[in-house]
Symmetry: C2
Subunit: 251 residues, 2 copies
DNA sequence: CGGATTTTTGACCAATGTCAAGACCGGTGG
DNA sequence: CCACCGGTCTTGACATTGGTCAAAAATCCG
């Protein structure tokens, strides 16, 4: 695990180890397949073979761009990635944020070309999985096929989450809670978040104006739910925050 | 093909034939796999074996309900299905509408239980595909695995479509254009739609109030873009309607 | 025909967006 | 070390879209 400082604090910052033939990267998208479900050695080696580490994208750089031919999906190893599309009128639309261990590019299988840009929000490393190779392997290894189906299916649900006509408060609360949960899954404290993305990106993702994000965070802080310091947020009343988020997150 | 009358008109109404060992149902979700890509005979028979026709749901009846254990996906054969969830506050949230040939239930793979209700909007018949059986088959027949990946991926894109902060006009235009396209794919005229769903359902799906849907349709008609008669809509100026929908549909 | 449901229409209201100005923060170079 | 600069963030005043409420009209269905 690596650490980075922001505003003079020590902030945990996940960095994937390289893994080995037995364990694979700890943050690997397919880690669970290999560990929990006991994939056979050969499959594991095959998976290793078709993975390619691609690294050191700096903030603002693109991992792929809209319209490029789809050939691979990417697992985030370190840093945070956003996907976004820019519509005909020039409006930016942020589709999602991806933390270490999450898969980017699943929405490109159908159109066969990437329907969005994937942009690094800080220093990012990814694993590249050639999709033809991966689907061949998936046909041989049930666990991997399963995992792909699962993640595709999960993304459908996630995309639908935002689509509701929820209030700005509900959206922001759900955003913070969900981000918190995903950090916890990766072994980070539940009550402290560092936001890799700007207010503008958050607003764009939640379909709000940046000003509204600012105001709501301010209000949450005034009510004692959270403590905001720039891009660092500590959650002081998780239960109340969750209560707000409930209509969106319930299931 | 069957026909039904509404408001005294003759409205085309797709009814899938039963297919045979060679051709499968014409509207079948996996039709393209079998025909275009030449699936081997054995696979085709297997697919036939694991399909189960389930029929004659009447308007309002559920094909599955929130929380039931996930065991199968369904391909619509006849009629129209809506999926919806009811949030903690009792608000209904329509997730999608499904025409003949489309797959319902893909969003249930991940949670392993259906995260929404699937409700018949008129007289509905479906094909039931046991999911364990289907994924086993998918591992053997690349075309089927491919088709599943494709459709899962497509649904991610569709779910994201609605999520933008688009105006009521843009939403409704995109809704009509997209519905029209899907009908055309099924061999129905491009300029005439019959809406199986109520204004309330449309509103709910587009995250608008029912009153807004009414008003916008009225305005479209006043401007000569469409002609509305209850649930029948004819598109008189497709180009202009598309122009409105463009920010949402472009890709 | 008659009650229930859906749809339309109108009047009003509130949440959120827009515009504009200023504060803050981090980085750069003198 | 400090001054400046660009970007991001915050705050305030105001405008607008779409929601809410209520009632009337149309449609459905027995």
């Amino acid at each position: 695990m690596g650490y980075a400082t922001t505003h003079g604090r020590i902030v945990p910052n996940p960095i994937a180890d390289d893994g080995d033939d037995q364990t694979f990267c700890t943050t690997c998208a397919f880690g669970s397949v290999c560990t929990a479900r006991g994939v056979d050695k050969i499959a594991l080696r095959d998976l290793h073979c078709l993975v390619e580490h691609v690294g050191n994208y700096r903030s603002g750089e693109a991992i792929f761009r809209t319209g490029e031919r789809f050939s691979a999906i990417y697992a985030v190893r370190q840093g945070t990635v956003k996907t976004r599309l820019v519509d005909i009128e020039g409006r930016e639309l942020v589709l999602g944020f991806y933390l270490p261990g999450e898969l980017v590019g699943l929405n490109a299988i159908h159109p066969e070309s990437y329907p969005c840009d994937a942009i690094a929000l800080d220093t990012v490393e990814v694993c590249r999985f050639s999709f033809p190779a991966l689907s061949t392997l998936a046909a041989r290894v049930p666990g991997i096929q399963q995992e792909l189906f699962r993640r595709l299916s999960k993304d459908i649900g996630n995309a639908a989450l935002l689509a509701g006509d929820y209030s700005a408060d509900e959206r922001l609360a759900a955003f913070l809670v969900s981000l918190g949960r995903r950090y916890v899954e990766r072994g980070f404290p539940a009550d402290f978040l560092h936001l890799a993305m700007s207010r503008g990106d958050i607003a764009n993702y939640l379909r709000l104006a940046a000003e509204t994000v600012s105001r709501v965070l301010r209000r949450f802080q005034d009510h004692g739910l959270i403590r905001v310091d720039g891009r660092d947020v500590s959650v002081t009343r998780p239960a109340e925050l969750f209560a707000l988020a409930k209509p969106i997150l319930q299931r």
